[in-house]
């Protein structure tokens, strides 16, 4: 009862006057609640706080369009960066965190010797984009910081958006992780990047001789999916002129997820040690999802490398993807149950804190050839789709998005999507 009163008092205080000191009070309160409640409460607070800060901004902004829509200038072949930034800037509970100034220059203890922090710089972009100013913003400082962080990727030449995405999350984790994980009471990294994007994959390796299965768990911040090429013959794949359309077979995101969770026979050069047989055996491997993240990032592997011809090619095929995605069939309980013909039950708790229904909120598309192409992001805000093409933000019909060539698709849990969109 007293806990609730204190919480309300703190909420009232920082609603009136946002300040950093109250974070520690809130954090204390949060630590005492259960894990589930803590996650939701922190997310709720961020949502409320960021909405408040957003509403206090410049009212001269064109108010018919949602705040947070702002073009990003291309600094010279940087559309790979702009496209991913747009998706991150609209990832529910991710942007709210930065806008609530929970990571800011004042609190940032982990500045490296060159005073660079990707998380701080992202926070700056966040504030700029949600400020109400609609002139395109140049994320130059972010590019500079990122090149320092990812020295091996630092060059003015072609870059891959997915690589950039992983690298940015890694950079933010590095800056955040150390100060956030001092408690270590939770297991798993508590930095904002992992709290929002990290899920858990389960890998079952079964010995084909005795049936013994060994299970391992690995965290992941996204899932890279191979396109299902079984509809196409190898001749078609080799020929560059084939353009599969709706008639010659169609690949869907669900088919890619099926492929991802399908049992795979490991090659004879990949014999794994079976504890039961006490020797190396041919094995089958099957992936499934143990825990879904708040924001599910799916990456479509459109790159095809042909070792015969020593060349690389982009797979241009259309991939259908749903706007509403139910991940239940790809969760570990479903996959394992299916392995036994759906006859077994209750070996694991089927309930999870996190629901498996997702809604899409951002799609990064790539058009053009492998060596010269262009990235564009489509954002869904309050049921309207916007095209973010570097500095140009335009409204588009949802059919344009459905027909686009997706490269990275960002889904958020339906509950969070609905909450983020209520206004």
């Amino acid at each position: 009862m007293i806990l609730i009163l204190i919480r309300l008092l703190c909420l009232k205080i920082f609603m009136d006057m946002p300040s950093k000191t109250h974070d520690s009070v809130i954090d204390d309160l949060m630590r005492r609640s259960s894990k589930r409640r803590r996650l939701n409460s922190v997310v709720d607070l961020d949502l409320k706080r960021s909405k408040l800060l957003v509403s206090m901004r410049d009212r001269r902004a064109k108010s018919c369009y949602p705040l947070g829509l702002r073009g990003l200038n291309n600094l010279g072949s940087t559309c790979f960066m702009n496209s991913v930034l747009q998706a991150l800037l609209h990832a529910p509970s991710f942007w709210n965190y930065f806008l609530s100034e929970r990571h800011g220059p004042e609190t940032c203890k982990k500045r490296s010797s060159d005073h660079l922090c990707l998380a701080c710089d992202f926070g700056v972009i966040c504030s700029a984009v949600y400020s109400g100013n609609r002139t395109p913003y140049s994320p130059a400082q972010f590019l500079y910081s990122w090149w320092h962080h990812s020295a091996n990727l630092a060059s003015y030449e072609q870059q891959d958006a997915h690589e950039f995405f992983i690298s940015v999350l890694d950079g933010i984790h590095e800056r955040e992780g150390k100060e956030r994980n001092s408690n270590k009471d939770n297991g798993g990294c508590q930095c904002i990047a992992h709290r929002v994007f990290s899920g858990m994959l389960r890998s079952d390796v079964t010995c084909t001789a005795c049936g013994f299965t060994s299970t391992t768990y690995d965290p992941c911040v996204d899932i890279s999916l191979n396109m299902d090429t079984t509809n196409f013959s190898s001749v078609d794949v080799a020929s560059k002129s084939v353009r599969p359309n709706e008639d010659t077979g169609r690949s869907t995101l669900l088919a890619c997820l099926d492929l991802f969770t399908r049992p795979e026979r490991l090659g004879s050069d990949q014999k794994l040690y079976c504890q039961n047989c006490q020797e190396r055996r041919d094995s089958m491997k099957q992936m499934s999802i143990k825990r879904l993240p708040l924001v599910l990032s799916l990456h479509i592997k459109r790159f095809e490398h042909s070792s015969l011809r020593r060349s690389s090619r982009k797979i241009d095929w259309f991939l259908q993807f749903p706007f509403s995605l139910d991940m239940t069939p790809y969760l570990s309980p479903s996959i394992v149950r299916n392995r036994f013909g759906n006859r077994i039950f209750g070996f694991e708790s089927d309930e999870s804190d996190i629901s498996s229904e997702f809604e899409v909120f951002a799609v990064v598309t790539h058009s053009g050839m492998l060596d010269s192409g262009h990235y564009v992001t489509y954002l869904r805000l309050q049921d309207q789709w916007y095209k973010c093409d570097d500095a140009w933000i335009t409204e588009v019909d949802e059919r344009i998005v459905r027909a686009a060539q997706c490269y990275m698709i960002f889904y958020v849990q339906k509950m969070l999507y609905c909450k983020a969109n209520e206004d």
């Binding site: 369009y65 829509l69 200038n73 600094l75 010279g76 072949s77 790979f80 002139t135 395109p136 140049s138 130059a140 400082q141 590019l143 500079y144 091996n152 990727l153 630092a154 060059s155 003015y156 030449e157 072609q158 870059q159 958006a161 997915h162 690589e163 992983i166 690298s167 999350l169 890694d170 984790h173 992992h194 990290s198 994959l201 992941c220 790159f303 982009k314 259908q320 509403s324 139910d326 069939p329 479903s334 013909g341 006859r343 492998l370 060596d371 010269s372 192409g373 262009h374 095209k387 570097d390 500095a391 140009w392 933000i393 335009t394 059919r399 344009i400 998005v401 459905r402 027909a403 490269y407």
Partner: protein
Amino acid sequence: MSVSNEDNLSPHMQLSSHFFGDLLDSIIVDVASECHRIARLGLDRNLEEEEEELRLSAQARVTVADPSNSGETNGKYVVDIFGQTHPSVANEVFDCMNCGRPIVAGRFAPHLEKCMGKGRKARVKATRSSTAAQNRYSRGSPVSPYSPYTNSTSTNRLSNGTYSHTVEEYSNGTCEEP
């Protein structure tokens, strides 16, 4: 397995066709009971939603492919939703955080590359060693403990290319200075 022929079959063949019948029956029952289980447990409850998504997607492709639907304006000469137009090369000017010189936004990346001494051209100029070529072709994924299951993200890259001017990777010294 036709009944009329049964009298003509040897006992041996009758037995084997009996076995075959039993095997076939048990396979059919197995598949049928699994389908029934799936339907009864509601494990396929999303079939309608999935079909709806497929239908919408197919419809969208037809609409977009139709040349008379110029719903999407390509190119950089459009007005954005806020009523603004922008030049194809961003013309905002700001100071480079490395050297302090004022740089045009659209040329910032190539400038920064030289300025920071990174990138292929800068490295080749500076060291003239084989490590420059190595760096260009062996860009691996950033080291991160959180993506162990993918083999290599470096083999699945899609590059974005030139933007309003060519990347002069194979020419010597004719690059534009900002």
